[in-house]
């Protein structure tokens, strides 16, 4: 019952893609995994998510894509986090992403990438391991 340090994760969709089923499911998984999930919903901009991360003192940002803009946004998030001296914040990405792009994202410094069909326990243990 002592006040324990809790990990906080912001989950959001960025850009115009209006599908949030995946990220809603992941929100539930992370909550059941003991995380404090700040659900930011659809149509966010990277700038707004960064602002939220500051206000919520989140340990990680999770964003998902359907529309193939992941490489662009990964670069964008990484540079914003760098500018604001927020290198400690983990970046997690999800969506329909080819194996080559998964590697490219990791090259850009994304901490974890999940593609459709990832199992709950796999996702959770990966996220536990990077936090």
């Amino acid at each position: 019952m002592k006040a324990a340090k809790k990990k906080r994760v912001i989950l959001a969709k960025v850009g115009l893609d209006g599908h949030d089923n995946g990220i809603r499911i992941v929100s539930k998984w992370l909550m059941d995994g003991g995380y404090e999930v700040i659900y930011a919903g659809l149509y966010n901009t990277p700038e707004r998510i960064i602002q939220m991360t500051i206000e919520e003192n989140a340990d990680a940002i999770g964003v998902s894509f359907l529309s193939g803009e992941h490489l662009f946004y990964a670069g964008k998030f990484k540079s914003l986090l760098g500018q604001k001296d927020m290198g400690h914040v983990k970046l997690i990405m999800g969506g329909v992403i080819t194996p080559e792009d998964v590697e490219a994202l990791k090259g850009l410094g994304v901490d974890a990438v999940f593609t459709p069909g990832t199992r709950r326990d796999v996702l959770l243990s990966k996220i536990d391991s990077i936090m």
Binding site: M1, A4, K6, V37, E55
Partner: protein
């Protein structure tokens, strides 16, 4: 470790309105870091002037939507606004889903605004204490208005209401029977009643039910809680709601209730701190939580009674030196 110098650094930056420092101090408070206590003491030594508004009501009545309208009202007057959105922690996983912020997207991102989501984290966390600490931090940042969203159901969440100067109890059409059953419970905390979703059928019925319940209850300080119909999604009724909220604040400032409310909130904080400290002590000294199961079995099976058990726990922890002999 945070030393003297960095405590001062935190204070100076928060007073400049720096969001990073404020946010980090909030996490220190939540995680129970001792250094946060000294920061809070210093922040409190300069009394704040913010109006603290609580918005409470069942999940789904439109609190987050309403808050985003209230915040917009103040932002339009170029006021600085803070929002604390409280959601429950799952007692099973210890995790939580904090989804209020999503409903505030219309205002989210404004430089003059600071939104912080907060999980209740079980009772030993000190929910009212943490909410009150967040309020003081936001106040020190220069926020003119601080709005707290809480479900207000259950002991811990009701206690959050005591942190606010003005509590807006939010209900919706169709809740009449339920309100009848609650009666005193809601009257205790509501200073202003918002009947939200007034675009739906049954508004007049629920207003009548509320009038009756309010009429039956005894209020202190001659404040008759007003009822305002709102349609938060469309921004209807917000000006009237705001006029009532501001009137209430003037009222409690005049009659001295403002000060006594603040004292009540801090009393709660002290009680919570005591409780949390006590649990920590029990766990440190005798692994209380580990043993609880065993204790329960003994009491269940009639091997001991609660009184004898507590006496032995107190003696074991050194809280009570020995059996009292003066009886």
């Amino acid at each position: 470790m945070t030393d003297r110098e960095s405590i001062e650094n935190i204070i100076v930056n928060i007073r400049k309105g720096n969001k990073w420092f404020a946010s980090k101090l909030m996490s220190m408070v939540e995680d129970g870091a001792y250094e946060s206590e000294e920061c809070l003491r210093i922040l409190r030594s300069t009394p704040g002037q913010a109006h603290i508004i609580g918005v409470t009501g069942w999940p789904g009545v439109g609190k987050s939507t309403l808050i985003s309208r209230i915040a917009r009202f103040f932002l339009d007057k170029d006021k600085q606004v803070g929002i604390i959105a409280v959601d429950p922690t799952s007692p099973i996983s210890g995790g939580s889903l904090l989804g209020d912020r999503e409903r505030m997207r219309e205002i989210d991102g404004d430089e003059r605004l600071f939104i912080r989501s907060m999980a209740t984290r079980g009772h030993a966390g000190g929910i009212a204490a943490n909410a009150n600490a967040f309020v003081r931090i936001m106040e020190a940042m220069g926020k003119d208005v601080i709005i707290i969203e809480t479900v207000g159901v259950g002991q811990d969440q009701v206690s959050v209401c005591y942190v606010a100067d003005t509590v807006v109890m939010t209900v919706i059409p169709g809740m009449g029977d339920y309100l009848q059953a609650l009666k005193a419970g809601i009257m205790e905390v509501g200073d202003v009643f918002a009947v939200n979703k007034a675009d739906k059928k049954g508004v007049d019925e629920v207003v009548m039910d509320l009038r009756m319940i309010i009429g039956m209850s005894i209020r202190q300080n001659d404040w008759n809680p007003p009822i305002v119909k709102t349609v938060a999604v469309k921004g209807i009724g917000i000006d009237e709601l705001m006029a009532r909220i501001e009137r209430h604040r003037e009222h409690i400032a005049q009659c001295g209730k403002l000060f006594s409310k603040r004292i009540t909130a801090v009393k709660l904080e002290i009680m919570e701190a005591l409780e949390a400290r006590f649990f920590r002590l029990l766990n440190e000294k005798i692994d209380f939580e580990e043993k609880l199961e065993g204790y329960a079995q003994q009491v269940l099976e009639g091997k001991t009674d609660r009184h004898t058990l507590l006496e032995s726990i107190f003696r074991e922890t050194g809280i009570v030196q020995q059996e009292r002999s003066d009886r």
